[in-house]
Amino acid sequence: MFEMDWHAIFQSRELLLTGMWVTLRITLVAIACGLALGTLLAVCATARSAALNAFARGYVSLFRSIPLIMLLLWFFLIVPQFLKALFDLPPTVDIRLVSAMVAFALLEAAFFSEIIRAGIQSLPKGQWQAAQALGMGSYQTLRYVVLPQALKAMLPVLLTQCIVIFQDTSLVYVIALGDFFRRATSIGERDGNLMQMLLFAGATYWLICSALTLLVDLMKRGRRSRVGA
């Protein structure tokens, strides 16, 4: 058997923390932009307009039928050209990071929209009718009646999806972006202790994700008991 050399890991802490910061930034951007776009898409999917419905359906099935790795490669191909055409970006901007953020934001919009759509459709029809009867317009109904309740009902599923995003960001490996996992493997290759770095990376992801999963479970249980009381 082999033993973990904690000292070597501790010495690489700065690189690993920088990587974790990249991972977190992609995750946070994906969650923020994904939620905003996903809400819009969900509203489109539930709107009383065939064109908007079709657009939302097409968007979601397009993004969900492509493997994430291909999506990252696609956006790493397209985004740099767009950015060059649209803005005059300073060369300090990390084009890989921006590509990954755009890819994740657009993909997670598709996943979030499905979750939120389910939340909107799970509300009783009476909620809409009551709001209309009170004289609210469509926007007001969505903003003050439907979305707050839908988001609240969907919170555990949304949080679980956030954990999935955190794990999925490790796939930016394929565009050579230095996130936590990529940095862990390159440190392992540099120092000839790849095995140890892989186990360390796996353990780190496991600790973070199972702690978050536990929190989500506790929250679900807390809600159930409150409803039951």
Binding site: F2, S65, V174, M195, A201, C209, S210
Partner: protein, 245 residues
Amino acid sequence: MDYHWNWGVLLQPVATGEPHTYLGWLATGFMNTVALTLCAWLLALAVGSLAGIARTLPNRFARAAGTAYVSLFRNVPLIVQFFVWYFVVPELLPATAGDWIKGLPPYTQFFVVSVLALGVYTGSRVCEQLRAGIEALPKGQRNAGLALGLTLGQTYRHVLLPVAYRTIIPPLTSEFLIISKNSAVASTIGLLELSGQARQLVDYTAQPYESFICVTLGYVVLNFLIIRLMGFVRNRTHVPGLLGQ
């Protein structure tokens, strides 16, 4: 944008001198993706079924083992699992088994490792679906089976599982689709399946759009085939009077 489209490049012979065209590479990649998806799916069904049943057994240790399996494999990113299966597991195995794996031709080694990584990971997802399917059955089913004098094994075999499996066909269809897309992660350890071929094609032809479009269509076709296959399975196995349609 001044991209120079050249679809003809797909019919050109490959630059490595082998008797293939670039389209042939894509076809090989597609077949590898199909083979990997099917093998890993069978493994996932087997492992997931065992773990899913274990999580519903009265035995506390069986349940704990099932829970530990799901917790371990669902909370570590798939790419990390691929790397661990490829770089770490052969080192931790007894020397003979490790040497046997490392002695395989590289291509077989990539494939075997990918099937293991993808299958065991997806098994943890199948496990949760089957557990939900078994738990959704009325408690009376299990009790009635046991009261009739069936053993626990017979109750699962003849009462619980035949209904549970058929009710979870829709979520299993999603898992089947997800495993076909997750198979792309195998390209990171060197397997030349569809995504791996896409990157190789870009390196050799410098025509990224053509190859990416072909590969994306390949996945769309595969998704379509899986949906048709699972639709067929669902129609053949649906429980009379229990499910819609």
